[in-house]
C-alpha cells in the first residue's frame, strides 16, 4: 500500500503573536516552525499503515525551501520519501494550493497512492478545504474529521465524532481522509532517526497551479486586542488558599 501525508509548515507561535510591520505575516524572528498536530497524526497514520500492510509512506508539502525541515520530521518518524513543492515565502490560496498538490501527486507516482492523508484543517489558515479540493481533482472519495481509521481489503473504515457517538464511513481506496489529533499517538523520533533523516534526499519539484481571477485573497492580518491587565495576585503558595476559597464561594459561587 502506498500512503501519502500532506503537511504544512507554520510558525510555532508561543504565548503572543507578533506581526511584521506590513501586517502581512507573523514576525518569525526568534520563532521555531512546526506543523499542525492533526498533520503529525497524518504522518503517524501513514507510517503505521505501512508497518501493518507493507508498502511505502510519503510526505508532501507545498512551501518555501525551509519546509524541508518539516519533511525531515516526517522522515525521522519513518516515512520513506519526502517531496517539496517549492514556493517563495508567499502563502498560496487554498484553490491554488489544492491545484498544485493534486498536480504534484499525479506527477509523483504513476500507480497512484492508495490512501492520502491530510489534516482536518491547517494550523494557521484553517481553510477546511484543501483536501476536499484535491480529492475532487483526483476523482477520489473524501471523508473529513476522522479520529478512528482502519484499512481492510481495500476499504477504509473511518469514524467521525458526532454528539453522543460516532458516525462510521466505509469507502473504497484510493481515498482521501482528513484526520484530527487524537487519531493516534505520534511517535517520538529517536536521535538516530533524526540524524538519518538529515542525510536523506528530498525531492524538490516546481509546483503548477491554474491561475484564476478573484478568489480568496489575504489583505492583511490583525492581532486581536487581548486584555493584558495583569491578574490580581492572590498570594504565594498555600497562603493564598483562603483567598481562593473566598473567590470560589463569593465571586464564582461554585461552593
Amino acid at each position: 500500500m502506498k500512503v501519502l501525508a500532506c503537511i504544512k509548515r507554520v510558525p510555532d507561535t508561543g504565548a503572543k503573536i507578533v506581526l511584521t510591520e506590513d501586517e502581512q505575516r507573523i514576525d518569525t524572528s526568534g520563532l521555531g516552525f512546526t506543523m499542525s498536530p492533526h498533520e503529525e497524526c497524518a504522518i503517524e497514520e501513514a507510517v503505521a499503515q505501512v508497518e501493518t500492510h507493507g508498502g511505502s509512506a510519503h510526505v508532501l508539502t507545498l512551501g518555501p525551501p525551509e519546509a524541508d525541515e518539516q519533511l525531515r520530521t516526517g522522515l525521522a518518524m519513518q516515512a520513506d520519501e519526502a517531496t517539496l513543492l517549492e514556493t517563495d515565502e508567499e502563502e498560496w490560496s487554498p484553490r491554488a494550493t489544492a491545484d498544485a498538490l493534486a498536480d504534484g501527486i499525479d506527477r509523483l507516482d504513476d500507480e497512484g497512492f492508495d490512501l492520502l492523508l491530510f489534516g482536518n484543517e491547517s494550523a494557521d489558515a484553517a481553510n477546511y478545504q484543501v483536501a476536499v479540493r484535491v480529492a475532487s481533482e483526483l476523482g477520489y472519495p473524501c471523508v473529513t474529521g476522522i479520529k478512528d481509521l482502519e484499512v481492510e481489503d481495500g476499504t477504509a473504515i473511518a469514524k467521525r465524532e458526532i454528539s453522543g457517538g460516532e458516525e462510521v464511513y466505509e469507502v473504497d481506496l484510493p481515498a482521501v481522509v482528513t484526520v484530527k489529533e487524537g487519531l493516534n499517538e505520534p511517535r517520538y523520533a529517536s536521535m538516530r532517526a533524526k540524524m538519518q533523516a538529515r542525510r536523506q534526499e528530498i525531492e524538490s519539484v516546481e509546483p503548477r497551479a491554474e491561475t484564476r481571477a478573484g478568489g480568496l485573497e489575504k489583505v492583511r492580518l490583525e492581532a486581536p486586542e487581548t486584555d493584558d491587565s495583569p491578574a490580581e495576585i492572590l498570594g504565594e503558595g498555600s497562603e493564598a488558599v483562603p483567598e481562593i476559597v473566598e473567590i470560589l464561594a463569593e465571586e464564582v459561587e461554585v461552593v
Binding site: 487554498p94 484553517a126 453522543g164 458516525e167 489575504k218 488558599v241 464564582v252
Partner: protein, 324 residues
Amino acid sequence: MILALVEHDKGTPEELSLEALAMARELATAEGDSLEAVAFGDEADALGDELGEYGVEAVHCVAHHHLERYAPDAWAESVVQLASEREAKTITAPGTDRGREVLARVGTSLDAPMATNCLAVDIADDGAYELRRNRWGGSLIEHARLDGEHKLLTAAEHEFPIEPAASPTEPSVSTFEPDVDDDLFAVQVDRVETGDEEGIPLGEARVVVGGGRGVGSAEDYDQLEELAELLGGTVGASRAAVNEGWRPHDDQVGQTGAKISPDIYIACGISGAVQHMVGCKGADTLLAINTDSEAAIVQKADWAVIGDLHEVVPELNEVLRDAA
C-alpha cells in the same frame, strides 16, 4: 438570492446554523437581496415557522429516496442544483463538520472560492466581499477579499448573535428533488455507533480544572481530579500533558482540542500558549496557579497564585473537604 444551508434536529434548527443564518441575513440586507434556506432530512418542512423569525423567505427541503443517511457529495450536488435553479450566487453554511465539507464540495463543483471562520462580511463597491476571518483558532484575524461569480462562506463559532429579524417573514416551504447519480453515494454514513457517556463533558462543565506540564506525572492528576470533584467540575489538560501520556486527548483544551466555557477555569501548571488559550477564552473567569510569575497565563488570568500546584491544590482540597 443568498442560500443558507441549515442543519436541524427534526425540524429544530441547530444553534450554529442560526448563527450562520444571521451572517447570511446581514449580507442579504446589505445587498438588498432575499434569503432562502436549504435543509435535508426528516421533518425539514417543520423549519418554516422558526426560520421565518429570522427573515428567511423560502425553505427548500431536499427529498431523495437515497438520502435517509448523510452523504456529503449528494448533499453538495443538491445544493448546487438548487442554487442554479434559484440563481443563488452566495451560499453560506454553519462552521460544523458537515457544513464545511459540504460547502467545500460545492466549491469544487462551481470552481468557487470559500472563506471559512468568518467574523464579519462587508460588500465592496465592486461587489467583492471584504471580510474578517479567524486564523490560528481565533488568536489571529485575517482581513481578506472574496471575489468570484459564486461566493461561499462559513461562519465562525459564536460570533454572530442570533436575533429575530426586524420584520419576520412567512416562508414558503417546498420540496426540492435533486437529480443525483448513484456514484454520489460512494461516501455515505454507514452506521452510527453510540458512545458510552461518562462524567461531565468538558464543553458543558461549569468548573474545569486544567493541568499542564507543571503537573509532572499522570498520578499527580489525582489532586486535580479531587479538586474538580469537590467543585462539581471536570479535569482538562494542555497538549503538553497529553503528549506526555498523562491524560487522554479527549481531555485536551485548545485549538486542536475542546473549547470550554465554564464559570471558572483553574489552570494549574499551564504556561498560556495561544493555542491553549483559544480553547478556554469562553471561560467567565480564569484562575492560574503557576510557579512562574512571568508566565503568560498570569497576564491573561483574572486571579493568580504564584506557587507550586503540588502544595496549593492539596491544601485547597483539604479546606474545601472540611467545609463540605
